[in-house]
Symmetry: C2
Subunit: 389 residues, 2 copies
């Protein structure tokens, strides 16, 4: 018989196990948060050389398109989540049916995989969208262009990211090649935006929701290059409106975990552009710039723990992506960057350096927007290295 005053034999601590399908930089940065919380991270990787596989002991090699690999992977996980959005929803549903806690679930994630389903649902719930229509023939595109004007934006219904799968067509002629490729498409009216904003929110299975401050994102060639938090000169009522839209989408779509809502700011208001349901490039600034990083927030959400404070830790936070240059020896350039600016934060993802590839990011924090932007850009430019070697 146990006396209540005799402590039980201590058992080894094993924190909750969170499985992340995919082993890119998002899973890698999630490991930093997992280490603090004592959460045991497991990743499903293609190879042990991947960004996250280099820093996560419990790396399993497998194919996210294979249900039996996913089932093996999920065994013993307290929650399963994603580094990317490519896992077939049928497989996710099968895991859910097995009793695995998958976040986000299939019914939510489909909206981040299928842009037509996303547009249908957003239209249904009254979230602001550009005019849009599924198109299958050139005549559909022409009719759409007649109705809403040119250029027409064609988007692959599935599989695009970082500007891939998006074509801005000035005429039917330009649309022909895209339509002829046979990729399922939707057409969207071109949005003449003033700038791009993003809102990152988290929602837990309990239904608790939290929004980070609205940020401005700067894209180049379809790739995010810079994020400014908070979005400069954004009226508080406009910021609140953007946050309300994002929280409402998370709630209506049943998102669990993080949801990033990319928006266009136009003269006549906000328009939702894209959704992502995972830690997002527009939230990397939160590692140092928010009291709770997006990676910790995602872990809290998928484990159904109370969400953390999204408040800023500095008046201005700027993140600039580090894209690979021709000289891959980024590390040799640390010395200059660190000596020049002892406060800038370098993040390098342990990926092969290829020109144009996202290989890291830098974050600067401070009070003066121009100064903080200059610091972040200087660091990123230096780390990228010379354009010819």
């Amino acid at each position: 018989m146990n006396s209540p005053n005799v402590p039980p034999t201590p058992r080894p601590v094993v924190g909750p196990v969170v499985g992340v399908v995919g082993a890119g930089q998002l899973a890698r940065m999630t490991q930093q948060a997992a280490i603090a919380l004592g959460v045991e991270l497991r990743v499903l990787a293609n190879s042990r050389d991947e960004s996250a596989a280099r820093v996560i002991v419990d790396t399993r090699i497998g194919d996210y398109r294979d249900l039996s690999d996913l089932r093996d992977f999920a065994k013993g996980c307290d929650a399963v989540t994603f580094d990317h959005e490519h896992v077939p929803t049928a497989h996710i549903q099968a895991l859910l049916d097995d009793g695995v806690a998958v976040h986000p679930g299939a019914e939510a994630l489909v909206h981040a995989q299928d842009k037509a389903v996303m547009r249908e649902r957003l239209t249904e719930i009254g979230a602001p969208c550009p005019a849009w229509r599924r198109v299958s023939e050139l005549a559909d595109v022409e009719a759409f262009g007649e109705e809403y004007g040119w250029p027409v934006v064609l988007k692959a219904v599935r599989g695009g990211y970082d500007g891939r799968g998006v074509w801005v067509c000035a005429s039917a002629d330009e649309a022909r090649e895209v339509v002829d490729s046979g990729v399922p498409l939707l057409a969207e009216a071109f949005v003449p935006f003033e700038r791009e904003l993003a809102v990152l929110v988290a929602r837990s299975p309990h239904g608790q929701g939290v929004s980070y401050p609205v940020v401005e994102t700067v894209q180049k060639d379809g790739i995010c290059v810079e994020v400014i938090a908070p979005a400069p000169d954004l009226a508080p009522e406009d910021a609140a409106a953007a946050q309300r839209i994002a929280l409402r989408i998370a709630q209506q779509l049943g998102v669990t975990g993080l949801l990033a809502v990319e928006m266009f700011a136009t003269k006549s208001g906000l328009v939702v552009n894209e959704l992502a349901m995972r830690p997002h490039n527009s939230g990397h600034w939160t590692i140092e710039g928010a009291r709770t990083s997006q990676f910790e927030q995602h872990l809290r959400a998928v484990l159904d723990l109370p969400l953390g404070s999204p408040s800023l830790t500095a008046p201005v936070v700027v993140m600039v992506n580090l894209l690979g240059g021709p000289d891959p020896d980024v590390f040799s350039r640390y010395e200059h960057v660190m000596a020049n600016d002892p406060g800038v934060k370098i993040h390098f993802y342990g990926k092969d350096v290829r020109p144009g590839r996202k290989i890291g990011h830098v974050t600067a924090l401070g009070t003066d927007l121009d100064e903080v932007r200059a610091r972040a850009w200087h660091a990123a430019d230096c780390l990228r290295g010379p354009n010819d070697v």
Copy 2:
């Protein structure tokens, strides 16, 4: 022939390799910084269950007292450093003679291993010390007590930490048992201190030095329980004096990496108590509370990179250690703590929970000292759990 305009074939990125001897929580938290910098961390562990071994892929099992294990471990490391101070200096010297970059080196580290050598050297360089003397017989202790008064503090020359190896003896009778144990000892005059302070500095092989703000540490039963940054109500000139002492010790002792200097604040000024040459409990607050965490700073120093900014990220930062209680299920108490305070930061080391053992820490940040302390203590008390289960 290579044209200068043709980029070289990208080669796989492998960041610099830093080997850490020992796999406790210090190495574990260093991994968070290493992930950001793209530094490849390797640890020498006793077992794969240790705190750092759970989160570092390149974990080698071996004995830090065995030179051939250390030599195998050091192969391919750009720098070797320590999670603890127990590696024999003869082995460190052998590695240095092999050409390994070991930081700190043997000539510095001996001062953190041998309290008599430390006192001799500090006295030599004029750093403030209590009266002290090597003692080997009870008569030595009695003579010391006659000269400097009772109580006399006896310290094991080697091996003590967290209050172990320190005996405060009110009389010769109390000293008898300690002396009879045969442990090499030194006697120190008891310092009637007002409070304890600590200064954490970093020094690189280049000779660059950086000091964090002076903190107040609160000990209970010889174990650090709380750290307040910056030390409340410390006059700027006193803070500067403490930082000067620590930077001078680092420079004079040739420390490379971090040096923590624990001090007593007395009515008549500062007295150096202990030295540690590694990331230190008194610096855990820097993870969120300083622009550069002590773990990143240590990596920068041992890789001879420019040191990072030690500036505070909030006016008040309080860290409270989480000591194990009788109920090991710390994780089940996250919900309450997180719901109660969305801004408090939990760190849990993935160690077996045993009563009184350091198993994690919490950090709170803010502007009001009393409020921030109350938040940190509330979180730590809740995580520790009930005293009887």
